[in-house]
Symmetry: C2
Subunit: 201 residues, 2 copies
């Protein structure tokens, strides 16, 4: 509990391994994540990983946990920095931007977590269910605020609408190519669609 955070060389190596795991996980999926590939990316011999983790699954597990945590905290922070009294629909737009930024440029972990969770073995998914729920709760809260402001189309089921919106965001990781379109362009399009899509006609 005391000094786990100290940035020793060992801690940096360990971090490199987790980062590499997220990197590979994101591109290859759960089953396709080979320790040899992770090792290569992390600039380490494959068995060295076992000094830090007792199994492949444990490593992947941590990469996913980091990802979920990062998504949660980056979005939460972005919301915290918003000026007080902002209409809920604007806060939602902030969350949309933060989620996309995290997914697309800030964190392989978050992207890997979001996109890989469904493929994980049941036991592992179970372990992250709570974190997932917590993150979802943030969004649900935002949607509820929007509804209370009267800015949500009453014909929309809030839960379903939320999942549809999150899907749009999560899927960007599959197609967005930094070389071809700007991140801001994607964010802008997503925000417009969400704003107008949710709005009461």
């Amino acid at each position: 509990m005391t000094e786990t955070v100290r940035d020793t060389k060992s801690a940096r190596t360990r971090r490199r391994v987790v980062d590499a795991a997220a990197h590979v996980l994101l591109r290859r999926g759960y089953a396709g994540t080979r320790l040899s590939d992770v090792a290569e990316v992390a600039q380490v011999q494959a068995p060295a990983i076992y000094y830090y983790f007792s199994s492949r699954d444990e490593l992947i597990d941590e990469a996913v946990a980091v990802g979920l945590d990062r998504a949660q905290s980056l979005v939460t922070e972005a919301l915290a920095q918003a000026p007080a009294g902002l209409p809920a629909i604007d806060r939602l737009a902030i969350a949309v931007a933060a989620h996309l930024r995290t997914l697309l440029t800030h964190s392989d972990h978050a992207a890997a977590a979001v996109r890989t969770v469904p493929q994980l073995p049941e036991a592992m998914r179970e372990r992250h269910r709570q974190a997932q729920r917590d993150y979802l709760a943030v969004w649900r809260g935002l949607v509820a605020e929007v509804r209370d402001d009267g800015d949500l189309d009453p014909a929309l089921d809030p839960g379903t609408a939320l999942m549809v919106v999150l899907g749009a965001l999560n899927w960007t990781a599959e197609w967005w190519d930094p070389a071809r379109g700007s991140l801001e362009g994607v964010i802008d399009a997503a925000q417009r669609l969400v704003r107008d899509g949710l709005a009461a006609s």
Copy 2:
């Protein structure tokens, strides 16, 4: 060309294998698709698969091809059946419904194809690129029609908006649970979001 379609027992077994491959592919991803699992689902011994396909990749390849083809044709058919002269935005709504129905209830193949393509090895993805483009072209056409009708928010980039929308649809396969919500509910929410989201403010 002549009688490849005849429904012999052999043809049925073969189909079971492809179906099983799609089933596993959808849940486990490309790397996670084991022939032993496919065999189990198809009620066949694993080596029997090699009677029909010369390699694992060839089997997966076919499952994906079937999926892309099915998505394309189901959506195209739905559009063809729409009354002539329907506003483009309504035709788009029809496509949304057809895509969701295909993905969520009609075809594991389509869902597997749509969700797995990004994970496939380059060579294989290459082989399906054309089919993918063709399917995308249908959507692009619809969006262009909507724009020509003046129903598309001019601030939206049509290409980006389309990908965001398709993402919302494709991701439904990750979360929608037939046991908990009705398919119609999802379709309705998606249609509303698309209609209002794309509309010129």
